[in-house]
């Protein structure tokens, strides 16, 4: 006799980074988290029943990147040789999830995971979860403070809508952790989830450039892996292209444009990485400001010092796994918030289900 399994999906993807012990981030986050939940005592709480796919971290790939047709662009396969040394490989991922609604706002939780491989052993630090209560009243304050800490004087910007706050906070947290790691590591390979495309609200060009610069100054190399890309070359998706040699190799694009039409800016050189045999390959962005040889060496050091599953680095995979919220954790967080804040749980009728019965699928939002 088993209890019926509720259809709680895990949060899709999100990253957090964090560097080691000297990150100031957790303390700040605790403060923000507690401050945000101070005023919700005794409110009614509608736990989130179903979490459909919600992009908690806004990828620059998802923001339309108008990539120009460039027929002159050619491809070259660059075979790779793993470089075995003791280079530390670090990856960061963050997750966020909506856990419910109150009368005045939205309850969500954020968590980060940093995974690093040292001496053939993986270590993981999970930070959080940090629950937040975001309302129309406090969203400006929270967003402003987070942005201030993360981007340090990058200028005023409009506060996002309540719906987008969760994703924005997640992105800010990610940048924050990336900065922390860049500052605290030396001669390491730092893996980001996503691309090095800048020019969005959460990835201002100056901020991402600064992140890369800090990393470079400490002889770190940032490699960004995108699981999904919309970029196409001659009509073909970039990751569908294959090279002429056997893996591991990079596909290098000659005469690739540095700028896109619009405000987006490519801060990395774009490659297709096919690092193991198998069906998967990924878009790989390497800091544009470092030399081709240095970038190539970083990839080869990554190959020599990390494990790979379907061309994807294990550190990044673990970071994703350890940051992701499970449905069980969502229930635990709901319980924590309900107990801590004395919330009264209510179940609001699902209008879709009421109207459409079995056909009323999907979120109510």
């Amino acid at each position: 006799m088993l209890i019926e399994q509720l259809h709680y999906a895990t949060t899709p993807k999100y990253n957090f980074p964090q560097s080691l012990e000297d990150l100031q981030l957790p303390q700040r986050f605790i403060e923000f988290s507690l401050r945000s939940m101070k005023k919700i005592n005794g409110e009614y709480f509608q736990p989130n029943e179903i979490t459909p796919y919600e992009p908690a971290k806004e990828s620059t790939e998802n923001i339309t990147l108008a990539f120009p047709h460039h027929n002159s662009c050619t491809l070259r396969s660059v075979p790779l040789k793993p470089l075995l040394d003791d280079t530390t490989v670090v990856a960061v991922d963050v997750s966020s999830i909506k856990v419910g609604e109150t009368e005045t706002g939205v309850l969500c939780a954020l968590r980060g995971a940093v995974v690093w491989r040292e001496k053939r052993r993986y270590r993981c630090l999970r930070i959080g979860p940090f629950p937040f209560h975001i309302t129309e009243e406090n969203k400006r304050e929270i967003y402003g403070m987070l942005r201030q800490f993360c981007f340090k004087g990058s200028g005023e910007t409009n506060t996002p809508s309540l719906i987008n706050m969760q994703n924005r906070m997640c992105n800010l947290l990610e940048r924050w952790l990336q900065m922390g790691i860049s500052c605290s590591l030396h001669r390491s390979v730092i893996l980001w989830d996503g691309s090095l495309t800048a020019g969005t609200i959460d990835s201002p060009v100056n901020v991402v450039s600064q992140l890369l610069k800090v990393a470079r100054n400490r002889l770190n190399t940032v490699l960004a892996f995108s699981k999904i890309t919309r970029l196409r070359l001659s009509g073909h998706r970039l990751t569908d292209l294959s090279g002429k040699c056997s893996p591991p190799y990079l596909l290098k694009f000659n005469d690739f444009p540095a700028h896109t039409s619009g405000t987006m800016c490519l801060l990395g050189n774009i490659f297709v990485a096919k690092l193991t045999k198998g069906s998967c390959s990924f878009r790989l962005d390497i800091d544009r400001e470092i030399s081709w040889e240095h970038g190539l060496e970083a990839v080869q050091r990554l190959l020599g010092n990390d494990m790979f599953l379907q061309s994807y680095p294990e550190t990044l995979r673990l970071a994703h796994i350890f940051s992701t919220f499970t449905a069980n954790e969502v229930i635990g967080i709901q319980r924590f918030i309900a107990q801590k804040c004395g919330l009264k749980m209510v179940t609001r009728p699902n209008v879709r289900r009421l109207l459409f019965g079995l056909f009323g699928k999907g979120s109510e939002d």
Binding site: H7, R126, N328
Partner: protein, 484 residues
């Protein structure tokens, strides 16, 4: 605890890890709106299938030698997650309904899922509610709440009982408690003691005589249980010859003639019987058959021609007419002799009961399949019960007792079984649903017993059987005794 689901007479209840509930315990589901309560018994405790648990466990399983994980959780949220992970699902069987302070066995209503409150129902409260009192108490042990648990000796009166469980779980211990409890209330008990375990019930563990000493008569066939042929009825003797010694029908008819002849002559002795068979005019094969049975009887040393040596069952019953036990020690005697003795005892019992020489007797039969002939089983649970033989079967091989016996059993004292086949057999007992038997009995600790049937008014109760200060016999002989 929250009511989660009801299907048939099964209720599922969600419980948090701090709400410590074990199999066999009773829960009361109170519905304030209808002012009724559902009495349920926990038959299984499972992990609640919390959504996402598989992902959680898989993720945590990666944190081994290869991955070292640390958590920074300043708000302590993870402890809540762990709490949810450990939440339980209590599978319960509905046992009755409480309405206006009265207990009813029916449960044709459904309590409110949102409004009902659930609390533990201590066994003592259950016994009070069910009006399970003990006018003639036999203390079996204690309940989970460490309160004394008694059954009423009257619930064994006129009943068929089964004590079963795997080896070394405490079956014999419980049956000794029952024997002594019955004796205390003046009952007459006969024990067919296969392993000689009951012979020293009259002695404390330190070897001193206890208060039951005078009430325990240990009788060993061929030793202090002997009789002369005139003390035997022909019918009993024929039962022995036919059923225990497998005498063919033709030979049995000749034996009947010889017996009557000797009776008429007034020379019914063992010696004369042998002489008469030798000289009897009959077929040689018949004579040989009679001779071989005669020597079997002779070798059993169960019969004597000296009236002074004779010590039959009837005389011993007189000694325990105010309550006591005749322990027929079947230990260390051959299978044939054992069967001869049992045929004699049962035949004699029926004879005495039909003649109202005794009122009724409680028969305890350990591993009865080793000495009870096939036709006796039905006889015991039907005909002999009407005469006043109230049997308690004690066995660790439940499949040796036939299904119809289980179905007619009034009380079952069930100890631990782990074997599925054994559980399947025992679950045929009509006094409780099969799921309860299988689930609860599987996890009973040693010396814990699930009491089913009339003794508990069909409310199954788990009891920790009390210790008994008697000299324990029947210990398994060990080779490495000294080392131990």
């Amino acid at each position: 605890m929250r009511l989660y689901r009801k299907e048939g007479n099964t209720v599922q209840i969600l419980a948090l890890p701090t709400e410590n509930v074990e199999k066999g315990e009773y829960l009361l589901i109170e519905d304030p709106a209808t002012r009724r309560s559902l009495i349920t018994q926990v038959i299984d405790v499972q992990f609640a299938n919390v959504p996402g648990i598989l992902e959680e466990l898989l993720r945590n399983s990666t944190t081994n030698d290869l991955v070292h994980e640390e958590s920074f959780d300043p708000l302590g949220v993870i402890s809540h997650v762990a709490y949810i992970q450990d939440s339980r699902l209590l599978v319960c069987k509905i046992r009755g309904t409480m309405e206006d302070g009265k207990l009813r066995v029916t449960a044709s209503w459904l309590p409110s899922r949102s409004q009902s409150t659930i609390k533990k129902l201590p066994t003592t409260s259950l016994l009070t509610l069910a009006k399970i009192s003990a006018d003639l108490p036999i203390q079996l042990g204690e309940t989970r709440e460490l309160s004394q648990f008694n059954i009423d000796a009257q619930t064994l009166d006129g009943r068929l009982n089964i004590v079963t469980g795997k080896k070394e779980t405490g079956k014999s211990h419980l049956s000794k408690l029952l024997v002594m409890g019955l004796i205390d209330h003046g009952a007459m008990v006969v024990v067919l003691d296969l392993n000689g375990e009951y012979t020293h019930l009259g002695f404390s563990s330190n070897g001193e005589k206890n208060e039951h000493f005078s009430k325990i008569q240990a009788l060993t066939p061929g030793d202090n249980l002997k009789m002369t042929l005139p003390q035997m009825k022909l019918r009993v003797m024929l039962d022995i010859l036919i059923h225990a010694l497998h005498l063919p029908g033709t030979s049995a008819r000749e034996f009947r003639r010889i017996w009557r002849f000797l009776q008429e002559q007034g020379t019914l002795t063992l010696h004369e019987l042998g002489e008469t068979i030798k000289n009897w005019k009959c077929n040689t094969h018949v004579r040989d058959a009679l001779f071989s049975r005669y020597y079997s009887l002779l070798n059993s040393r169960f019969f004597t021609d000296n009236p002074a040596d004779a010590n039959g069952l009837e005389e011993n019953f007189r000694k325990i007419r105010n309550g006591g036990a005749l322990v027929i020690n079947l230990h260390d005697i051959s299978l044939v002799d054992r069967q001869v003795a049992v045929e004699y005892v049962l035949g004699k019992l029926v004879e005495m009961l039909t003649q109202w020489k005794i009122k009724a007797v409680f028969l305890f039969a350990e591993e009865a399949h080793l000495y009870l002939r096939e036709t006796y089983w039905d006889d015991i649970v039907t005909r002999m019960r009407h005469f006043g033989v109230f049997t308690t079967f004690v066995t660790n091989q439940p499949n040796t007792i036939r299904e119809n016996i289980y179905r007619q059993a009034d009380n079952v004292f069930l100890f631990n079984f782990t074997n599925e086949h054994d559980l399947e057999v025992v679950s045929r007992a009509a006094k409780v649903d099969a799921e309860t038997v299988k689930s609860v009995a599987r996890d009973l600790p040693p010396r814990h017993c699930l009491v089913l049937g009339r003794a508990v008014k069909d409310f199954p109760v788990v009891v920790r059987v009390k210790a008994l200060d008697v000299q324990a016999m029947g210990h398994t002989r060990l080779f490495f005794t000294e080392k131990n």
